[in-house]
């Protein structure tokens, strides 16, 4: 096949558009993300003794002095759909057992913890708080 200028006119933009699809986005697993949070938590507190699913569960349903809790949108047992407290839009389940996409992208996890902790707590969450919530979420199973 001869590479003509005409061919380049199409091939070049097509390559530029398709290339990012071939490179996987910075992916991970819930365990990778937990390990990352643990490293930060340990650095912040040398006496850190591991994440607690029980602490995560109560953190998730508490309003922390504000109007909302995490459960306001995600429900108290997020293996099913939630609903945005303000807009009513359906939110897919948060527990990895019910939604394999959850906690697989570091960028997404960081973005949503930043936003949602700000809405619920009025501040960012600590690595320990995030890790506790993640430990609880990964402990949830679909059927119960």
């Amino acid at each position: 096949m001869r590479i003509t200028p005409q061919l380049w006119r199409f091939a070049l933009p097509a390559t530029l558009v398709l290339l990012p699809l071939a490179v996987p986005a910075r992916a991970g697993t819930p365990a990778d993300i937990a390990a990352r949070l643990e490293a930060v938590a340990r650095q912040a507190d040398p006496a850190f003794a591991g994440f607690s699913a029980a602490r995560g569960a109560s953190f998730f349903t508490a309003t922390h002095g504000g109007e909302w809790s995490c459960a306001s949108c995600h429900t108290a047992r997020p293996v099913g759909d939630g609903r945005h407290a303000k807009t009513g839009k359906v939110i897919a389940p948060l527990a990895p057992a019910a939604n394999a996409e959850r906690f697989t992208s570091v960028a997404k996890v960081d973005k949503w913890f930043r936003r949602n902790c700000n809405d619920v707590m009025g501040r960012e969450c600590t690595a320990r708080e995030k890790g506790d919530v993640l430990a609880w979420l990964t402990s949830l199973r679909n059927a119960e």
Binding site: K86, T87, G88, K89, K111, R115
Partner: protein, 206 residues
Amino acid sequence: MNDRRIRKILPRRAHRAARAASVAGMLVAGTLFAGGTWAEGRRLAAMDPEWAAECGSCHLAYPPALMSAAEWSRIMNTLPRHFGVDASVDDDTHRRLGAFLARHAGTGGEKRRHDAGEGRARSVRVTPEAVNGSAAAAAKPGDAAELPRITTSTWFFREHRKVRPTTWGLPSVRGGVHCAACHPGAARGDFAEDDIRIPSPGEARS
């Protein structure tokens, strides 16, 4: 596209025809996006995967043509306090979304200023309170009350003047922000007039 290269490929007459066609195409596209005819039921097609993902995770990814570039830039500059919710995005995303909006924004702001009086007079039955509910109309602390809203613009009232005030409060509608309650194709930017489905009062919550 490189003009000189086209000239090499195409005979002169075909080139002239192609140029005329592309000018005509640009005129049609320009009318659709900038001229405000979208409100007459055309598809507000400008969509972008990133726009759909970033803005569509909490609410419908509203078509950029529904507000002016100036209004969108106020929205983009206050994302950490977005109607009482933190909707902040990273700098790269912010820049890309801003460019997308600048390209596809509508003329909402200009229209709003010019015919505000006329619009109000024609749509006496539809008030911001009726459309948005008194609770939503009363800004809560932290809400940027002065943020532009799609549902308070003149064209919005004009386009919805035939909607009964009670319809806005139906559980399956819950105010003017939920486009998809009556426009099933809203998420695709499709607001065609022959595809409007207004729920009846007896209907259960969707």
